[in-house]
Assembly symmetry: C2
Homo-oligomer: 496 residues x 2
């Protein structure tokens, strides 16, 4: 390979083409593939991913990165791309092919046993596979290396630079501030959200979700929305970012807030610099920052009174029968009802962090050998009783509910909470920077916010770490106080 | 590489995964991709195809093929796979990367100039690009090699083993038998097809086309139908074969016969042996044989009186207003109306072969240097006058109408006629083998025919050459007389 930046760029973009192709195949699998297509589709995706991994971890590519980074005259954005790629390369090459294959087999086995265990509502079916996975994740942490705690090596794959001692502090705040705050709310007279559970015809919901996506700035010339069993956002290039949604005709919330949530993710991906396709500066900063973009639109904007002042009339027009007796204030209170639920993805936006707190405590304890996998269901149920005051009726509505551990994703869950907390902090800053922001939103005009997010967050790709970005945008590192301020202001208004 | 059949199989299937992935990306591009997605999609497809080509033409792979074919104890189906792959390998390695890139650039330029030329209705815009392409195709023929005529090297890529002297004989028959037969038909009183040109609502057409696909045995668990500007069939595996169609609410024929045509192609692909995925025995025999499968369903079955005796009642039920005054006999005559048309794809099934005859004569003459590209429009128009008695009003309804030459496809057009002629010969044999075939079809039961096609044609993949297959199935090589027999019987019934 000639040792030029162009060689690096071509090489990395070509590798990215393979990942993008695998993404198209995965998208199709979820939305349009006929049932019998699964067998060969799986091997096609595996071939693409394997080839991309092989090409990325070639030692000649590593040599190229080192050689280029040794040059003195490298302009700044190019240097940053190379640095980030070297970080990725270093991590990727620490796991050899034999380990990656062992892990891949364990995940495949874990996934199938998890499906079976859920169906049979029998944790012991999943238990041996989870034991294997936990052992492998500890081995992975050792191979990757860490300074302080093996969990850090795992967390770093999803939230580069973030450490478990920071999570410990953050979740201590959740325990000490959010848990009692929510407990107080639960004691207050409940709000009414019955209007959500009427028949909302699918086609009208679909049209309203398209309206919502357009309204938050999602570009339909560079994306599309389809149905899938589980909503997701997927990127083939910054010029083709797709979202999916699901529907429940008996619950208006299902499609509405999944659309705006995925729309927030997609807006980020559409806002990444297109000329940096396949390079770090063309990629999202971290999972936590990614989640901040979806949560900000879903919660700070999409569950706010100003937003619905602008859009409730349109909603009433589409569903006159269902919403004729509901005022916008009642609607706002109903969609923010606080009620503990055993299932994470059906949780309100405050209890949600209790679910994450519990998963963080448990997965870290398993990695530390402070919790045997066999004792997971008991530990799970105890924590749900302690934090949410809930009795968990069965493991498939308890510790078997999420796919993440079965997929070998340890260190992933906390990024959901990080996302919400970043969202609160970013949104507070946006309100300071744009004095009339909530008035504009109340008039149906989101343009100032979109521009603010584009300039302050999207445009930078992976140039900054999450912490650097947060300090650059808000003047300080992640600070849980912003989320509490947001929660207090909003829920004292709702629960008076 | 270890020199085992398993190594060969894994290698080739992995290469096929890349082509299959490129096919998914191409399908998505035609049916669902948002407009801005085009830029990066093109490079993703190019990366996949380039990588597949590189892997296939590696000399180590050639060594493996030679080593395996040198073994004595190779069982027959494995030997045949290796032989076919060596044929492909030999052809592929005759064109080096520099040539392939030059050709690829010329095609890209040719395509864009062709689009412009059509828009401007100005052949001279396309002419220089076509001159370059013809020169390159002659160079390609020289590189690939041929015994008799350079055209053979080009034709062989689409119809392996077929030669231009055979096409000369075949098209001499077309000129001597079909041209006067159709001229006589044109002199007879015309049939009425006005019922086709009413408003046929899109959704009802769509439902009827699904009904048609199901009826001819297309498996919707291993495929799906979508809309695209130009109908096509595309294969990701024998377990995921998709078709597309288009609609014209003012012309019922557009969707109906495009669906059954593509359905015939897809039925072939779904009938290929799934355990031979990616290997020659899992692939179609030739373009001519492929087209025989689409034409047989479109014309021999889909424009026959028995078929519509079974399905016209269903059609009338869906379009009661449009078809209340039409009998099935009138319908049958109308859908088989013979009328010369300047556009190939809007032609009836007999005039169609005049369009191919003309293209064959012209492309062969250009390859032979017996026709200068500059003289193409004049030559084109003269032949349309001679064979179809038509004055061509403008080049974009004349020699600029098809994309094939702009794509560098010389030797492709004849496979359309070969397909129809094979279809007539196969169908005649099927009628002999299944004495009650047309009665069954008249009762809406296509199962005997589907089974006959599965057993006699689909199951063999590329085991036989087209000629071997034809002789095996019908007892003789391709014989144009079967098509004339079919045409005489059918059209003497229609034009009395």
């Amino acid at each position: 390979m000639t040792k030029t930046y162009e060689t690096y760029q071509q090489r990395l973009q070509q590798i990215h083409d393979l990942y993008a192709a695998a993404a198209v195949l995965s998208w199709d699998k979820e939305v349009y593939m006929p049932v019998k297509g699964a067998r060969y589709r799986s091997r096609q995706v595996a071939t693409l991913s394997g080839l991309a991994h092989d090409q990325f971890t070639e030692s000649a590519f590593g040599d190229l990165l080192h050689a280029l980074l040794g040059k003195n005259d490298l302009p700044d954005p190019e240097r940053r791309n190379l640095e980030r790629t070297l970080e990725d390369y270093t991590k990727a090459t620490r796991l050899d092919r034999a380990f990656v294959e062992r892990r891949s087999n364990a995940i495949s086995d874990g996934y199938h046993r998890w499906l079976k265990a859920r169906k049979a509502n029998d944790f012991t079916v999943f238990q041996p596979a989870l034991e294997t996975l936990i052992a492998l994740k500890k081995e992975e942490a050792d191979r990757i290396g860490y300074e302080d705690h093996p969990y850090d090596a795992l967390l770093d794959q999803f939230e580069p630079g973030y450490r478990s001692h920071q999570l410990d502090t953050l979740f201590a705040d959740v325990r000490e501030q959010l848990v009692p705050f929510v407990r107080d709310l639960r004691a207050k007279p409940q709000v009414d959200d019955q209007f959500l559970y009427q028949t909302y015809p699918k086609d009208e919901q679909w049209e309203f979700s398209l309206h919502t996506l357009r309204n938050i700035g999602y570009d339909f010339d560079a994306g599309r929305q389809d149905f899938s069993p589980h909503p997701f956002t997927i990127t083939f290039s910054p010029e083709d970012v797709r979202v999916t949604t699901q529907f429940n005709e008996q619950n208006f919330a299902t499609m509405c807030w999944s659309s705006i949530h995925e729309g927030g993710h997609a807006l980020y991906e559409q806002g990444l610099p297109a000329d940096q396709y396949g390079l770090p500066l063309g990629q999202a900063c971290s999972l936590g920052i990614h989640e901040s973009q979806s949560r900000l639109w879903e919660n700070q904007v999409g569950r706010s009174l100003p937003y619905w002042r602008a859009h409730f009339p349109e909603l009433q027009k589409r569903f006159p029968k269902q919403l004729k007796d509901t005022t916008v204030e009642q609607f706002f209170r109903g969609i923010n009802k606080i009620v503990p639920h055993p299932i994470r993805i059906e949780s309100d936006e405050l209890h949600y962090h209790f679910h994450i707190l519990i998963r963080y405590e448990l997965e870290k304890a398993m990695i530390e050998d402070n919790l045997a996998v066999a004792d997971l269901p008991t530990a799970w149920n105890e924590k749900y009783k302690a934090y949410l005051d809930l009795d968990i009726p069965s493991d498939n509505r308890g510790c078997l509910q999420d796919i993440h551990w079965a997929h070998g994703s340890i260190g992933y869950f906390p990024t959901y909470s990080l996302g919400s907390f970043y969202a609160a902090q970013f949104y507070a800053k946006a309100c300071t920077d744009i004095p009339n922001l909530e008035e504009e939103i109340g008039q149906g005009n989101n343009q100032s916010l979109i521009t603010w997010l584009r300039d302050n967050i999207h445009a930078h790709g992976r140039y900054f770490t999450a912490d650097e970005l947060c300090r650059r945008v808000t003047g300080e590192s992640l600070n849980f106080e912003h989320f509490m301020t947001y929660a207090r202001a909003k829920y004292q208004q709702i629960y008076r």
